[in-house]
């Protein structure tokens, strides 16, 4: 057991920290809405890219630094700590690129990886559908082969960044007769075609982080199949596993910062003298530390045993519940301001409600823990 960084890890952290300090992003734009924000994050990624910091975890042959898991975790901790944004093309960098590295052909790697890093081409994720949420494999969007092309029709939902994306990681049904998980194929769909309509999905905070995709006979060349026809479920699992890996560290730091902000808000109002608030804040402090430790423990397990332990699911579950508690307590502390539209804490309070749903609902995570970690019998699904 050694909870300190090695000299190499410390050097990695110091180099990144110094670079961010010398090259901070431009201030976040206040006008211009989502588009301006996106441009701002894209510019930021371009600068990260030019300095070799867009995706340190990628192998050097693809433009990364071949960073170890620990260094990659340090990267997200530092990004979080400095309160600078994640790269604009987070889905491409964290999900799309690593999925192609596992399943893509040489031609695909050659064609797609570099523009992901430079943010020239933004990626989005077309998995969920209105009737296929937690039960992802029941998705209905279908792709039919015609000559050297696939014709795709269907609907996707919760597609963040779709309006800015060039490529969509799309899972569609290519064999209606095969068993549920077996009839799926993973495609890269060009978003720049009229057959794909993007509609913003307004969420409870009033803004539209996500979109719906309406796909009406979109065309995808056969060369854009990833991992082979009928193998889409396995390819999608690679994407989903990457989703839970790296981000945990950025979330964990962000949570800690939110806690510090809530403590400051309580101090301003003289509420730290109140034993009830002090106890609740100390409890949240303990929870934040346990999340940090579980995230690091998960990483050590991967390094030791080559595969993630239960911690990936535990960290996401605990993080989402803790962030909800934290924002609820903040609302109690701040009072009316947290119940006023447009105020920071009212936004945080509402946005946190999505945490226990996005990226795997808490109920699904509990199923995963119960079945795969504790070995409990599977709930029988309806036929």
């Amino acid at each position: 057991m050694d909870l300190t960084f090695s000299p190499k890890e410390t050097a990695f952290r110091d180099e990144l920290r110094a670079w961010i300090a010398e090259n901070p992003p431009e201030p976040e734009p206040v006008d211009g809405g989502e588009d301006a924000k996106h441009r701002w994050r894209r510019d930021w990624q371009r600068r990260l890219y030019e300095a070799g910091w867009a995706a340190p975890a990628w192998p050097t042959e693809y433009g990364g630094r071949g960073a170890t898991l620990t260094e990659s975790a340090i990267y997200f901790e530092e990004i979080g700590r400095a309160r600078v944004p994640l790269p604009a093309n987070t889905l491409g960098v964290l999900l799309g690129g690593p999925t192609l590295m596992v399943w893509g052909t040489d031609e695909q790697k050659e064609r797609y990886l570099s523009p992901i890093l430079s943010a020239e081409e933004i990626w989005c994720q077309g998995f969920s559908e209105p009737e296929a949420g937690s039960d992802l494999a029941s998705l209905k969007t279908r792709a039919v082969k015609q000559g050297e092309e696939w014709i795709v029709t269907g609907q996707k939902v919760w597609t963040s960044g779709a309006q800015y994306s060039k490529w969509c990681m799309l899972v569609a049904r290519t064999d209606a007769d095969a068993a549920k998980h077996k009839g799926l194929t993973y495609f890269l769909m060009d978003m720049e075609q009229d057959a794909v309509q993007v509609r913003p999905l307004r969420q409870i905070t009033g803004e539209a982080e996500f979109n719906e995709l309406f796909i009406e006979e979109a065309r995808i060349p056969d060369a854009n199949v990833v991992g082979g026809v009928g193998n889409g479920w396995n390819v999608a699992l690679t994407t989903l596993m990457n989703e839970r890996a790296g981000l945990g560290f950025a979330l964990q730091i962000r949570l800690r910062q939110t806690l510090d902000d809530v403590i400051a808000a309580a101090a301003e109002r003289g509420l730290l003298e109140n034993a009830l608030y002090a106890d609740a804040l100390a409890d949240l402090h303990v929870r934040c530390e346990s999340i940090r430790l579980l995230a690091w423990k998960g990483l050590s397990d991967v390094e030791r045993y080559g595969q993630p332990g239960p911690e990936g699911s535990l960290v996401k579950w605990l993080w989402s519940e803790t962030n909800q508690r934290l924002t609820q307590l903040a609302a109690d502390i701040v009072g009316a301001d947290a119940l006023t539209t447009g105020e920071e804490w009212s936004y945080e309070l509402l946005r946190a409600r999505g945490n226990t749903i996005e990226g795997g609902t808490t109920e699904v995570l509990k199923n995963i823990v119960a079945e795969r970690v504790l070995g409990l019998p599977r709930l029988k699904a309806a036929a």
């Binding site: 057991m1 050694d2 002090a278 530390e289 823990v369």
Partner: protein, 333 residues
Amino acid sequence: MDFGITEDQREIQRTARSLLAERAKPERVREHAEARTVDEQLWLELCELGWPGIAVSERHGGGGLGSVELCILCEELGRALAPVPFLPTVMAASAIEHAGSAEQQERWLPGLASGEIRGALGACVDGTAELVIGAPDAAVIVLLERDGSAQLLAGSDAELSPLASIDPTRSAARVSVRGDAQELPGDVAGGVDRALVAASSELVGVCDRALEMTVAYVKERRQFGVPVGSYQAVSHRCAQMLLEVEGARSLSYWAGWALDNDPASAGRAASMAKAYAGDAGFRVTASALQVHGGIGFTWEHDLHFFLKRAKANAHAFGDARWHRDRVADLAGI
């Protein structure tokens, strides 16, 4: 950065687990719990193996290993619910080792490390500690005062009224200072933090075993034609138990590591571990009981011994609220 334990530590864990599986079988634990007696034969065996002195320095007759090794033994003893005075003895030893004068150390540590004498540690209000685990059998008792100071007294100098604690696997007493008590002049907090981590680790073991029993039960027990573990109302409760076990374990091991390697965060870590493990201990064992249904509420089933140990440990050495209050102070909340 490596959160795992070393191969040597894993070996200690394996050895401890297999020894206790053999020597502290549930029926034997029950026998001693019902008679409210220490398992003297097991205690003797553990002493011969040097367990009580594992974290005591070599010059005082101990094994000179660290807090993480102590955590490992405590966790295993908690899993087995072993009816031996290990925890109170190592708690007294860590207080004396870190806060005692040279004379106090020489007088008490070799005996505590070898297990020839037993110790106890309790928290005092106005000269009386309400529930001191292991006090009736202790040759030396350390009493913590609210102001952070600590007193040491020989068992014979204490006024003891034995109590029938709800945890029948360990003796307990109300203790008042009667004869001569000596101040512990050194780093009381450092010693107490080690004791806290030992108590937290024992709670981790208690919870871990309760979860293991529960998982085995819900795979076997059938109602409405299926194993009850296939119902999400049950399986999700089990998942919650795992979450709390893992959370408590991470904090306890971190605190153990910090005590030997990162003194600046050790106090905060130790109180976090005790606060979390204290709450988790009762919640996890209570969940275990609920999931077992009627059988879990019977005297005949072993679960209640785990629940009682968990509650007694959660209360002793500062309950969760007390430790969160300390966390708040140390973290600037």
